[in-house]
């Protein structure tokens, strides 16, 4: 690919905006899922009894719904990122590409 094109893109404020928005969003979501997962793991390693507490009179422990929620959270977070990427990031990217097309 033409080095000039890449240089033009790098100087395009829309590119800088895209990188900033996508990076901050991606890293925030990553830290969120990492935090949740490692909190879960550390609880299991250090105080598993917290997860072993039963709910009311049932035999079901709170570890069960928590586990299910984490699984659901993984899916929901991928959905959130996909939606933001489709609505915002793709639009910015297309504008950047249009700028190149109509620049020369």
């Amino acid at each position: 690919m033409n080095k000039e094109i890449y240089e033009k893109v790098r100087n395009n404020p829309k590119y800088i905006e895209l990188v900033k928005r996508r990076s901050s969003f991606a890293w925030k979501l990553s830290l969120l899922i990492l935090g949740v997962y490692y909190a879960f793991i550390m609880t299991i390693a250090f105080s598993p009894d917290i997860l072993g507490k039963t709910i009311g009179n049932s035999v079901t422990t709170i570890g069960m719904p928590i586990g299910f929620i984490i699984i659901l959270l993984c899916f929901i977070l991928t959905g959130i990122y996909t939606r933001k990427a489709t609505n915002e990031f793709d639009k910015l990217t297309d504008e950047i590409k249009d700028d190149i097309r109509f620049d020369t």
Binding site: R10, Y15, Y38, A45, T54, V59, I70, I71, T78, T82
Partner: protein, 538 residues
């Protein structure tokens, strides 16, 4: 009289008698696979077709295929078997396998598709020197693939032996022949569609199992758990057991599963089969949904097996104190318990399909590492035409298939449980760090990547060899005799890799290092916007 006969068959060969519905469905599936291979072969003409199925797979299809790759027989049978045995611990494992996927979506999937062509080594070596990076990446890929292959081949041989009554060696050879035919003639197109169909069948089958279980429990989870606790005589299955007993093992396992997923060559290859980064992104969204749903199902299946299978002598191996065929057969026996011979036949055929699909994907990934990375880019230094590269791919496939059969037969009675763990550790310690840093860190240099990556790889292998499974149990009969006390080395090997890569990159003051750092900005533009990426040419 019947049960006597059945028992004698068991004693003599460890194989069940013939199950006609299973064999019929098995043959049906073999026929379907060959048909798909024939159809795909007619459409596989170029290298692009062979490696990436032409690049026209949609996000949804790819999501199913990726989920299929991930929902291997090992996870279907293994995780439900673990839940059957230990309850909650199985969920801990499942979650560990799942959390890597959001990370892949946020940080890797789109960038990978934008930068690469056929293999992840394309991306890792983008601005670095081709020969050393590709060699290391190919080595890491082939090591991961071979370890995974041995585990899958042994598992499949045993499964077929138990389900269809075939001798072990024949079962392994049969699988090997089908793989070679499927991949050599059908390439990524056949592999993908076999994976998709198997994923659909597996999801339907597992859903049916779960629904049947819940209907017998009056659709109440409380009843399911209560019955299971009553049968087990303890409520230990409702809480964490001893799977993750200390923080170091906990973090190490988590790292291995999370980053290892992002370094598995046969998974990463799938991102190149879609038309652009947007479809790559959608693939992960759908895949995460399917895989998450699947793990919920395996959890229900494991508990259902406790209730419906564990007290039924028909399914037990009294002498060994386990289920007949091992505790990993929990889901299989359960399918018989809820749906008779017919459903057992269906699930058995699906299990076989699962094995076939995953082993095909692995073989293709290994063959691409050999033909695209080692041959085309290292040996021939990029000066090769497509036809030759394709030929090398096909010969590599045949070679890998034969190797897989030989190793599968050789390792029949070995303890192979550590191999998948080691595969993930290598993927996390050699493949992932180089890939990730090359996409995001400007100061990465060839020297840093090669030395750091090699150190990570060596550390992973060394620590597993010195660890409780190999040094302890296999060589000295006692896990406590191990030199390295932890079962999972990932925390250490991944750290060594990142530190090594960092140190040897920043101390690299050579001219080429300077040029590589300068080239980062252009690479980053391409990874973020897709400008200049490999596109689908129809």
């Amino acid at each position: 009289m019947n049960s006597l006969l059945a028992n004698s068959t068991v004693e003599v060969s460890g194989q069940r008698g013939l199950n006609i519905p299973a064999i019929l469905m098995f043959l049906l599936f073999v026929f379907a696979t060959l048909s798909i291979t024939y159809w795909a072969a007619k459409r596989t003409k170029t290298a692009k077709d062979f490696y990436t199925a032409g690049g026209g797979i949609t996000g949804f299809q790819n999501g199913l295929a990726i989920a299929g790759d991930y929902m291997s027989a090992a996870s279907f049978l293994g995780i439900s078997g673990l839940v059957y045995l230990k309850g909650f611990d199985g969920l801990i494992y499942s979650i560990g396998f799942l959390v890597g996927w959001p990370i892949i979506l946020f940080l890797i999937a789109e960038q990978l598709r934008n930068l690469g062509k056929y293999t992840f080594a394309d991306v890792a070596s983008y601005r670095l020197r081709q020969a050393p990076i590709r060699t290391l990446a190919a080595f890491g890929s082939i090591a991961t693939v071979l370890l995974y292959l041995i585990a899958q081949m042994v598992g499949s041989g045993k499964l077929i032996q138990i389900l269809f009554g075939l001798p072990y060696e024949l079962a392994v050879i049969l699988v090997g022949i089908m793989i070679i035919v499927l991949v050599t003639f059908g390439g990524m197109l056949a592999t993908t569609w076999v994976q998709i169909i198997k994923a659909i069948l597996l999801l339907f089958g597992a859903s049916f199992l779960a629904i049947m279980i819940m209907s017998k429990m009056g659709f109440s989870f409380e009843t399911l758990f209560q019955d299971a606790v009553n049968i087990k005589g303890t409520d230990a299955i409702m809480r964490p057991g001893g799977l993750v007993s200390d923080p170091i093992s906990a973090i190490s396992l988590g790292i291995a599963l999370m980053f290892g997923t992002a370094g598995l060559p046969h998974i990463l290859m799938r991102f190149f089969t879609v038309s652009d980064a947007k479809e790559a992104r959608k693939s992960v969204f759908y895949a995460t949904g399917f895989i998450g749903y699947f793990y919920i199902l395996t959890f229900i299946i494991g508990f259902g097996a406790i209730v419906l299978v564990s007290k039924n002598p028909e399914y037990l191996d009294i002498a060994k104190g386990t289920l007949f065929g091992g505790n990993n057969m929990a889901a299989i026996h359960l399918s018989h318990a809820v749906g008779g011979d017919f459903f057992l036949g269906f699930i058995s055929a699906v299990a076989f399909a699962t094995i076939l699909a995953v082993v095909s994907g692995l073989t293709l990934a290994g063959a691409s590492a050999i033909s695209h990375d080692l041959y085309a880019n290292v040996f021939a230094k990029g000066k090769t035409n497509e036809i030759t590269e394709m030929k090398v791919s096909k010969y590599s496939t045949i070679g890998l298939g034969i190797t897989a059969v030989i190793l599968g037969i050789a390792f029949e009675n070995q303890n192979i449980a550590f191999m998948v763990g080691l595969a993930f550790a290598i993927a996390a310690s050699a493949n992932f760090p180089i890939l990730f840093l090359s996409m995001y860190w400007k100061k990465l240099t060839t020297r840093g990547a090669v030395i750091g990556g090699s150190l990570g790889l060596a550390t992973a292998i060394l620590l597993v060899i010195l660890g409780p499974i190999v040094w302890g149990e296999i060589l000295n009969g006692d896990a406590n005799k191990a030199i390295f006390p932890y079962k999972y080395p990932a925390l250490f090997s991944v750290t060594v890799a990142f530190v090594g890569i960092w140190f040897f990159s920043i101390t690299d003051k050579s001219y080429s290092a300077k040029k590589e750092m300068e080239a980062f900005e252009d690479q980053f533009v391409r990874s973020q916007t897709g400008i200049g990426a490999q596109s689908v040419v129809k």
